[in-house]
Symmetry: C2
Subunit: 374 residues, 2 copies
Amino acid sequence: MKRITLLLLALASCIVLGAQEPTLVFSPEVHPDGRVTFRYTSAKAEKVSVVGDFTRRPLAMTKGEKGVWSVTTEPLPSELYHYRFNVDGRKVMDPNNAYLIRNIDEFYPYFIVGGGKADDYMVHDVPHGTLSKVWYPSPTLGVQRRMSVYTPAGYEEGRGRYPVLYLLHGMGGDEECWQAFGRAVQILDNLIAEGRAVPMIVVMPNGNTLHKAAPGESDEGMYKPYWCGSKDGSFEASFGDIVRYVESHYRTKRRASARAIAGLSMGGGHSLYISASNPGMFDYVGLFSPAVKPREESPLYTDIEGKLAAQFAAEPKLYYIAIGKDDYLMEENIAYRQMLEAEGYPHHYNLTEGAHKWNVWRDYLVDFLPRLFR
Amino acid sequence: MKRITLLLLALASCIVLGAQEPTLVFSPEVHPDGRVTFRYTSAKAEKVSVVGDFTRRPLAMTKGEKGVWSVTTEPLPSELYHYRFNVDGRKVMDPNNAYLIRNIDEFYPYFIVGGGKADDYMVHDVPHGTLSKVWYPSPTLGVQRRMSVYTPAGYEEGRGRYPVLYLLHGMGGDEECWQAFGRAVQILDNLIAEGRAVPMIVVMPNGNTLHKAAPGESDEGMYKPYWCGSKDGSFEASFGDIVRYVESHYRTKRRASARAIAGLSMGGGHSLYISASNPGMFDYVGLFSPAVKPREESPLYTDIEGKLAAQFAAEPKLYYIAIGKDDYLMEENIAYRQMLEAEGYPHHYNLTEGAHKWNVWRDYLVDFLPRLFR
């Protein structure tokens, strides 16, 4: 038995590796004042720059010791940013950044500058909810489909019932995108912990009925995701399958005052038509940069006037529309809102800076959540 | 109300986008016979090749129409593979592959060749379990920590109790890596659906006590993950916190015959010392390419002889060791197994081809699961 004792030798260990760590290249490095330093190692590159959503023009990087190119930005406003390097004319990922998020078919290195609104997008030492990837049967579509479900901290320990927000994505998205660029899990954890939002279940389904699940999670093999979705009414028509699953598998409050539906872009359109087709089902509706106009024909999209009349006759507590001034869907949103106003349908309108992008949708979620279930 | 009717115009829709799809570049394309075609678009590149774990030397790609470089492999054996392009001497991701998995701090484009063992790694149209990301309190470490929990299909609908496998990762890993390169969710879904494994709960904690959670999920900010972990006994010492959480929050069978622990590399070492320190707790132990020797000092690692004597006195049903012939930890594993044999401790030994890599760990999981809880 001495043999095993002899094996008790310290080898290259975690601590030793830790000591080596300072020789690693760190990129991006977010400084406390909001400046950000990018670094990229290449001995033979001739021109390196960083392009990202925080700068209108590429930031040239300069070559330093050991072939490490770098540049430091001015202090950036608090936000989640993404970027790429341009190395001799070719877009390149940052090999030193292990933080990537996917949008549709592309991965983006990202970083967060805190000290302001983006503190809501960061993980803090607060009680955390649980995020589950769940498969539900959709008899309407004849398949199993995948969705993400957030249950708030305390759900597993308690016996109480919770209100439910159904949170929908846009074209090309899937059941994972509100958790990636959307930062929904962090936003929910933080707002609930601070009492800015009430504890709620948040259901994030896959609104693209062409696919059962996100890339890598579907039995359709390695399909190529693209900027596509479901505007043929099939998602709206099958939405009841989701509600039935959620209300029979989670401790939910089953009444209009405890149901909300919201979505961005295509998901805003889904939220519009689902809530209009089910008057009295949702007391809270959120349309974020919504694709108001149907893109295809479906019985779901006919007689919208009559449907809205029934929906507003049930007096929803909040009908929320948010859009950025530079959104390419502005025109159809103006027309839709004029119609709501002509009919005297009460709604909350949040006109903001910005375009059809994730940065405004995170803002809208943070603005919308505190208004729910009060 | 005519206004809204006027809005019902068909625009560029999903179907139209679908019709454009064939003009997209697809890469990789896995052919039915197992050949794989890679494609990369670059008008100005001078030399492009593909490097991956399916080829010893780079495969040169040739330039075709519209600047699309391509190469097709010979038929590949069924497996999950990863690769990169080499473009004029620079490693580049495949911009047409939306399928990436992370290992520690690096992302790898991957593909799966089916028709053999890798069918177990694919999503099939079978009943699916639920994967949850759960935070549990660790009083021992004084923090909340994150783990992944798989509950099998039917768990949510039923009332029955389930056995539990604790499945641990290696150095540098986190609570997500058995689901990435490990394909644990697909393997479990498929083996359970085919009756090759019994329905079970599988708990995949974060064995690196330096961190609370995987990159992007921790309140430590954007720490840089590296090839590090916990070999100071702190994970083993705090493991009871996980069991307490799991056994109080899930419908588990609370007896040795319904508990298994297994892990790869560092996680194999964790499994060894946790099971040895808790005789009679686990009837099933799996050491996959285990790091047998402690790398640091801890009371957990002293008197291993006495601990093993107590563990084997409780007569575990399966003590499983698997390792590849080319594994760099072979020497310490030979010594450990000699000791087990000298003491007459029964164990199952699975000596395979291969090295210290994910391809053998997937094999070991597929080999190990059917042996549990029968």
